[in-house]
Symmetry: C2
Subunit: 190 residues, 2 copies
């Protein structure tokens, strides 16, 4: 591996963390490298930087593209593909959420729905269905929230985050204000 020490530490860390997420080491390393580099890299740049085989780079880039995590760029008079990550970290977060939902949540939801259509053949199955129903309801609530929130602009999303648990207090406050007929109150927005 042939990288400035800081970049190398970052890349190695992402590689290790990769396995804790569902992705493999190389994919994690390539992503980290693209993320932190100041300009787009082509496959051979990655080969040089990480000392891995050309074919491994090819397959890993394909994987990253399937996740929509990289952007393909072209440089004039150069046939090669160059890759970067989006500049906006919020956009990256959105993509990550979307893809993980697609791969990790949606299939489970569809299995739960299917199994809940069946008629239980025993007391044991009846109980199991009740448990699956609880899980289904939870996941549906979460995905409903997600579908709602994912359309927000970055600034609004940041506002929502900063608000955090205070939302519930805000709700109370609004109830009070509205029910009192717009009496003037101190703003408590942060």
């Amino acid at each position: 591996m042939n990288l400035p020490p800081l970049l190398q530490s970052f890349v190695l860390h992402f590689g290790e963390m990769g396995s804790r997420w569902g992705i493999n080491r190389t994919v994690g390393q390539i992503y980290a490298l693209l993320y932190a580099s100041s300009k787009p890299l082509c496959a051979d740049d990655i080969v040089d930087a990480l000392s891995i085989s050309r074919s491994n780079v090819s397959m890993s880039l394909r994987e990253l593209q399937a996740w929509n995590l990289v952007i393909l760029k072209h440089i004039p008079d150069d046939r090669r593909d160059y890759f970067t990550t989006p500049d906006d970290v919020w956009q990256i977060l959105r993509t990550l959420a979307e893809e993980r939902k697609k791969r990790e949540v949606d299939p489970t939801l569809s299995v739960l729905r299917e199994l809940l259509m069946q008629t239980p053949g025993s007391e044991e199955e009846r109980h199991a269905q009740a448990r699956l129903a609880e899980m289904q309801i939870l996941i549906e609530q979460l995905t409903k929230w997600y579908d709602d929130v994912k359309h927000l602009e970055t600034e609004q999303l940041a506002t929502l985050l900063n608000l955090g648990a205070k939302v519930t207090r805000l709700l109370d406050a609004k109830d009070r204000i509205v029910s009192l007929g717009r009496k003037r109150t101190e703003p408590k927005t942060s």
Copy 2:
């Protein structure tokens, strides 16, 4: 595998999904089994239900305990350990969030902090640090939100979920009401 068909489908699905999350097939299957069973199971029950070796069950249960995902129960006049999952799916969600944060987010945050302490030795490193800083800020915002929200009672959490993106509208409404005419600088609304 010796289970009612509905339970078997659920268990097999969790096993497969297991690998998309960081956990392995057996651990996923055992968790699913414990989750959907009407009473606590001991290691040998699991061996029978899933047709896997006793030692595998032992190691997998240990893994689940490390994740705080199972509850250990005892039955009078029986030396064996019996396992279940918590009844409350919201509690399960909280545990899952906490453990995943601990394993998948915190280590990255600490690496980012460490690397951002260093003095960049080149323009390339300077740029990398800027990118790491963006990532750090995002992660810190998210974990701050999480730390705030995780203490909420289930009912409040459900309220917050149901509110979703409407929070921003609520905020606007409150601003309008309390500031009596002073308009907030608008983000570009989609």
